[in-house]
């Protein structure tokens, strides 16, 4: 199978614009979680989210357009024949909210193909395009598909872009499901009590070795393994035995030709919800004799849903480049099963492979194994 290189990436989150700002914010232990300004939260379990300030003003169209403009400013150099895979759970859902409240709005960002159309038009892409919807594992599934296309000689260049908004729609829904934390997001903490939503967008441009060389692009790292598997257990709750995630991790490691001991670190989904984090720890404990250093970004960015897999893959590549993983913001009393492997401080790592994992409603799990740039 051909090598899959990441040659360009970008991100916008509640921590700010750009991958450097994201990385510096995470390493500095900062959080972008703050009181929500764009809708009233009086009747919800909490009033906090990882919102991007520039999106608070109500636009004439969808906030998604503003987010995409922020993500692609300045416009990156993407070959026009690039296959585009977007990943979003609810796209421009703010338009549905406004429409149902009888406020004037176009309805041009509600359907999932319109998310892909928006980005293709913005970047002048002429290749095929699709949106992938797999709940909070959407971007990770899109990365797996994109890497497969290149790996199996069916594309030379693939742009994977994950994006989702904080909206009253999703906020009220998580609140109704009692999934929100009334306090703060505390991944892998014994006192964790729920997630905090966040919004964001991130892109990764993948290229084959040949196209990478031909276009004189520098490799920022490689995607060497991926796996996607279902729990077959429950629609909104993860499987307690973690078997779906175990399966997805095993698939990714097999594809990469690696063993668990080859991984230098794990970027976990780590939503801060009681059951998700317990499921992940169960899966990790089944797989690893000794847990590698692992962390979650959700206490800093919020849970960015369909975008989180793309954001966390960028963080994973930065982690490999800097040989450290960011602190798990919000963590104070570690889950005993996590031991010293998860920390509220920066942790040094040593090695060239890192695993990222994401799971979502519908019982879906997706994983990607990354390899540090310069190692072949």
């Amino acid at each position: 199978m051909r090598a899959v290189h990441v040659v360009e990436m970008g991100a916008v989150t509640a921590l700010g614009r750009g991958t450097d700002v994201l990385w510096d914010g995470l390493i500095g232990g900062r959080t972008g979680l703050a009181p929500v300004k764009r809708f009233a939260t009086d009747n919800y379990v909490c009033g906090t989210a990882g919102c991007i300030g520039e999106l608070d003003a109500e636009p004439s169209g969808s906030r998604l357009d503003v987010l995409v403009d922020m993500l692609f400013d300045p416009t990156p150099s993407i070959p026009p024949d690039t296959l585009l895979l977007t990943a979003s759970t609810k796209g421009g859902i703010d338009q549905l909210e406004r429409s149902l409240r009888a406020r004037q709005t176009p309805l041009d960002r509600l359907l999932s193909h319109q998310v892909a159309d928006l980005i293709a038009t913005r970047l002048g892409l002429k290749g095929p395009r699709h949106n992938i919807s797999a709940a909070c594992a959407s971007a990770t599934v899109a990365l797996a598909l994109g890497a497969s296309c290149i790996g199996h000689d069916e594309a030379e260049s693939v742009l994977v872009c994950g994006l989702d908004l904080v909206s009253e729609f999703i906020f009220s829904g998580f609140s109704a499901l009692n999934a929100l934390s009334p306090g703060k997001c505390r991944p892998f903490d014994v006192e964790r009590d729920g997630l905090i939503p966040g919004e964001g967008a991130a892109y990764l441009l993948l290229m084959s070795e040949g196209r990478c060389r031909q276009a004189e692009r520098r490799s920022l790292g490689r995607i060497v393994g991926w796996g996607v598997a279902s729990d077959a257990h429950h629609i909104t709750a993860p499987s307690r035995d973690g078997e779906g995630l175990v399966l997805a991790i095993r698939q990714a490691l097999d594809r990469a030709g690696l063993a668990c001991g080859d991984l230098s670190a794990v970027s976990a989904h780590g939503t801060g919800s009681v059951y998700n984090d317990a499921m992940e720890l169960t899966a990790f404990c089944k797989l690893f004799d000794r847990l590698p250093p692992f962390h979650s970004v959700k206490g800093a960015t919020g849970h960015t849903m369909g975008a989180c897999g793309a954001i966390e893959t960028i963080v994973g590549l930065c982690s490999l480049a800097h040989q450290c993983i960011p602190p798990t913001v919000g963590l104070s009393s570690r889950e005993p099963r996590g031991g010293e492997s998860v920390s509220p401080s920066v942790q040094a790592i040593s090695g060239k492979y890192l695993l990222t994992t994401n799971s979502g409603f519908g019982g879906i799990n997706a994983t990607v194994v990354l390899q540090r740039s310069g190692d072949s």
Binding site: N43, L96, L100, L111, S133, S172, V228, S230, H234, I235
Partner: protein, 232 residues
């Protein structure tokens, strides 16, 4: 790649079927028939009545396809994938959910409806019912004969991400938006796997063929399969 069709199931305004007793697949616009779990399953399903229309139609067609493939009964979970192509997805349920959340400051938001505002949750319901542990996700229907889900599934097989995939299309009416999708409503799923070298179905250059006949529409795909009674 040669391909083999192991089963088929559908729900359209014209009826519910799986090709068992000469049933003919007929797509079209209109209202979907009343759906009960007994139409699709051997035993009652205690949550089926709470499913939205999109989930009922998609789940039902997947159940019939698996039954016609003989894969509906299981003791051990099966590594079978699920891929669904859709234009409107859960849009109608999104609107119904937000009607419950938009007033009284969100105090009356329905958690049951919210769970079905993700278009992939229908696949989660099917994976639970039939113990399917393969990849499961939704792709947008780009208007190419409702075959986007099928083509994506065939890629999963070719790439070795799974050996067998239940793949198809599902769309239900939405008052929210005119999506110009030809007005078709319904769900149709096929159980697909790689065929032997002598299989009459093949997938080449991103196009499905039966012998030398190209298939460019999911309705044609169903009709060829049902009329020729040839799965391999």
């Amino acid at each position: 790649m040669r391909l083999k069709i192991l089963g088929i199931g559908w729900v359209t305004p014209w009826g519910i079927g799986s090709g068992q007793s000469g049933e003919v697949f007929q797509p079209g616009p209109g209202k979907l028939p009343a759906m009960r779990s007994r139409h699709f399953l051997d035993k009652p399903h205690n949550r089926f009545g709470r499913f939205d229309q999109y989930t009922k139609a998609g789940f039902g067609a997947i159940a019939l396809a698996l039954r016609s493939a003989g894969l509906n009964r299981w003791k051990k979970k099966q590594p079978i994938g699920l891929v669904l192509g859709t234009r409107r997805g859960s849009l109608e349920t999104d609107a119904a959910y937000f009607e419950t959340a938009a007033y009284h400051g969100g105090a009356m938001a329905s958690p049951n409806l919210f769970a079905y505002t993700l278009p992939n949750c229908v696949l989660g319901e099917a994976s639970i019912q039939f113990g399917l542990t393969g990849p499961a996700f939704v792709v947008d229907d780009t208007g190419s004969g409702h075959l986007d889900g099928i083509h994506t599934a065939l890629n999963l097989i070719r790439w070795g991400l799974c050996q067998t995939v239940v793949a198809g299309w599902c769309d239900v009416d939405s008052k929210m938006i005119d999506v110009n999708s030809g007005g078709q409503c319904g769900a149709i799923f096929f159980v697909l796997t790689e065929g032997s070298d002598t299989a009459l179905w093949r997938w080449q250059g991103g196009r499905i063929f039966f012998k030398s006949d190209p298939i460019d529409d999911i309705g044609e795909f169903a009709r060829f399969f049902l009329e020729t009674k040839t799965g391999g």
